[in-house]
């Protein structure tokens, strides 16, 4: 089966520092791939390259086996790749629907310059409501996102990504700032997106969470891929030693 997203020989340098050193990665539809590694292992660099925030020095990104160019966040988005950043990048002063459509508002008429088109507010609110409902993200009212709890905010951010990511959702530390119950909901949400047939890449430090939702784990260290295995109780210690370094 052709992977939805494949990276081959990804290399990225920051001056003398090697961020990525020939990394290969594949993720399939309906699969959760965990990207593990200590700080500075290159996880963030890799997902930044996939989401268009950085450009690779060398290497190929393929979607459905076809090489694609990702030079900007807009490129990534138009390919169906959405990223949920660790800081969520939400607009706390705006409602969920405005957050969903920020920068890609539905508006008419088409012949006017984009900035002075009339917003299709009801249509956007309705689509947002349906997406949140489908993904079982529960909010009380249509108020500003800033008034939601941490888990609800994470839910809105993930649902926003899901609403527009036809192919791949990348999540950076999705449970880092959350309590146990809130994390649970986000993990359920990840599984729901997987069941809808999307490919997910989850960057996380929380091993327990990874064990639970990931179908496959890729471990990185110092810009290289040092291991790839199926997370389970048996491979747990193996993963940990890969993350920390061979000698441990």
């Amino acid at each position: 089966m052709t992977p939805v997203l494949a990276v081959r020989g990804a290399t990225k340098r920051f001056g003398a520092v090697v961020g990525l050193d020939g990394v290969d990665l594949e993720v399939h539809a309906g699969e959760v791939l965990a990207l593990l590694g200590d700080n500075g292992a290159g996880k963030s660099t890799l997902i930044k390259c996939l989401s268009g925030a950085l450009a690779l020095d060398r290497g190929v990104v393929e979607m459905d086996g076809v090489p694609v160019a990702i030079h900007s966040p807009a490129d990534a988005r138009s390919l169906g790749i959405e990223t949920v950043y660790q800081d969520l990048a939400l607009f706390d002063n705006l409602r969920p629907s405005d957050n969903f459509y920020a920068g890609r508002e539905h508006a008419t008429p088409q012949w006017l310059p984009r900035s002075i088109r009339v917003l299709r507010r009801r249509e956007m609110a309705e689509t947002t409501r349906r997406t949140l409902e489908r993904l079982q993200v529960r909010l009380d009212d249509g108020g500003a996102v800033g008034l939601l709890s941490g888990g609800q905010r994470q839910g809105v951010a993930v649902a926003r990504a899901a609403a527009f990511a036809s192919r791949v959702v990348i999540l950076d530390e999705p449970t880092a700032a959350l309590g146990i119950r809130e994390s649970r909901r986000v993990l359920d949400l990840i599984l729901r997106l997987r069941d809808e047939g999307r490919a997910l890449i989850v960057v996380s430090h929380a091993m327990d969470h990874v064990m639970e939702v990931a179908d496959r784990a890729v471990v990185m260290r110092r810009g290289r891929k040092v291991g790839e295995l199926v997370p389970s109780a048996e491979t747990h210690s193996q993963i940990v030693s890969l993350i920390v370094g061979g000698g441990a």
């Binding site: 002063n93 920020a102 890609r104 508006a107 900035s115 002075i116 009380d140 709890s149």
Partner: protein, 349 residues
């Protein structure tokens, strides 16, 4: 972390709907009260003033209030856009003077009302555009300094061009717009109304307005979402300058002249109006209705103190105190919002 193994949560059974909790409802009510705050304050103010001052509600005095408040309201609408975008525009008072003076000089040579009006508005727009371009292209960290500089430059230009004195004469149309009235209702009231509606459409129904609030709420997020942040900011300052031009037009019409000292401290009035109207100084929040409410709160306080022959110095202090109250209201609102968040976290997860 062991808890993670147990699926769907205990929280589910507890508080199925947070609205059922009376304390949560109290928080919601407090939030609603704080949001309606500016309008409630103005309402109370109007009731108190009209009970203590019989002449307040005479048509002539109401016309006066409208006329005296028009410039603050117009500048406040421009300032609202700026403050929502996380900025500040200190130059609008000076721009009122400069645009009026430039208009008066043009009128000395060409007796065309249309041209004078165009020149006055154009001057305001030019100052605003310059502010925006310097701020964005110059990558200045905060617009405070940029507009402080143009406050000084525009005032200096106005004084220089007018040789430090008033330049009398304005076309009849400008005089009517700034000082005329239909019976007791001044024309300037309709200018405020029209501009208010335009700003309302711009901020709530058009894509640009959504971008404005996004930029004010989270500039980095806006950039990542592909919103043209720089362009939005330039237009914000251009529009604030244009509003100052309209303020200059009304002022020049009212005094039938271009005065290089007009609009003095008007920038502070406009900022006060927006803050009294409950906008967040940190950006991202504020609306047209409340900004107008803020402007009229200032107008009514001035008018009431005038009617009671209270020394003008006290007016300055009174308005300062209202600004402080408004800011404190914003702080309390922040606390209440935190409580709402906490309540939701406990109930929802």
């Amino acid at each position: 972390m062991a808890d993670l193994a147990s699926p769907v949560e205990h929280g589910e059974s507890r508080g199925s709907s947070p609205a059922a909790d009376p304390r949560y409802r109290l928080l919601q009510a407090a939030l609603f009260g704080l949001r309606a705050g500016p309008a409630l304050i103005l309402l109370v103010l109007v009731v108190v003033v009209s009970l203590t001052t019989p002449v307040f509600f005479t048509s002539r005095n109401v016309g006066n209030v409208f006329s005296q408040t028009a410039v603050i309201a117009v500048l406040g609408l421009g300032q609202l856009l700026v403050i929502v975008s996380r900025g500040i525009d200190l130059s609008v008072g000076s721009t009122v003077a400069l645009s009026g003076v430039v208009g008066a000089i043009v009128f000395l040579h060409v007796h065309s009302a249309a041209l004078v009006i165009l020149v006055i508005l154009g001057t305001g727009l030019a100052v605003g555009l310059a502010n925006g371009l310097v701020f964005v292209l110059g990558r200045v960290p905060h617009p405070f300094i940029v507009t402080l500089a143009s406050l000084s430059i525009a005032r200096g230009l106005a004084l220089w061009a007018a040789n430090g004195t008033l330049i009398p004469g304005m076309p009849g149309a400008v005089d009517t717009l700034g000082g005329g009235s239909i019976d007791w209702l001044p024309y300037s009231f309709f200018v405020v109304l029209a501009l208010g509606l335009l700003t309302l459409v711009l901020t709530t129904f058009l894509v640009w307005g959504r971008w404005l609030y996004a930029v004010g709420g989270n500039p980095d997020g806006a950039r990542r979402a592909g919103i043209p942040v720089g362009r939005v900011l330039v237009t914000v300052y251009a529009l604030s300058g244009l509003a100052a031009g309209v303020g200059g037009l009304l002022t020049a019409g009212l005094i039938d002249a271009g005065s290089p000292t007009s609009g003095d401290l008007a920038e502070l009035d406009s900022i006060a109006a927006v803050i009294i109207g409950g906008a967040a100084f940190a950006g991202g929040r504020g609306n047209v209705g409340n900004a107008l409410v803020g402007a009229f709160t200032i107008g009514v306080i001035r008018n009431a103190l005038n009617l009671h022959n209270v020394n003008a110095f006290y007016q300055l202090m009174a308005i300062g105190i209202v600004v402080l109250l408004a800011v404190e209201g914003d702080v309390i609102r922040g606390h209440v919002e935190n409580r709402v968040r906490l309540a939701r976290a406990l109930r929802h997860g």
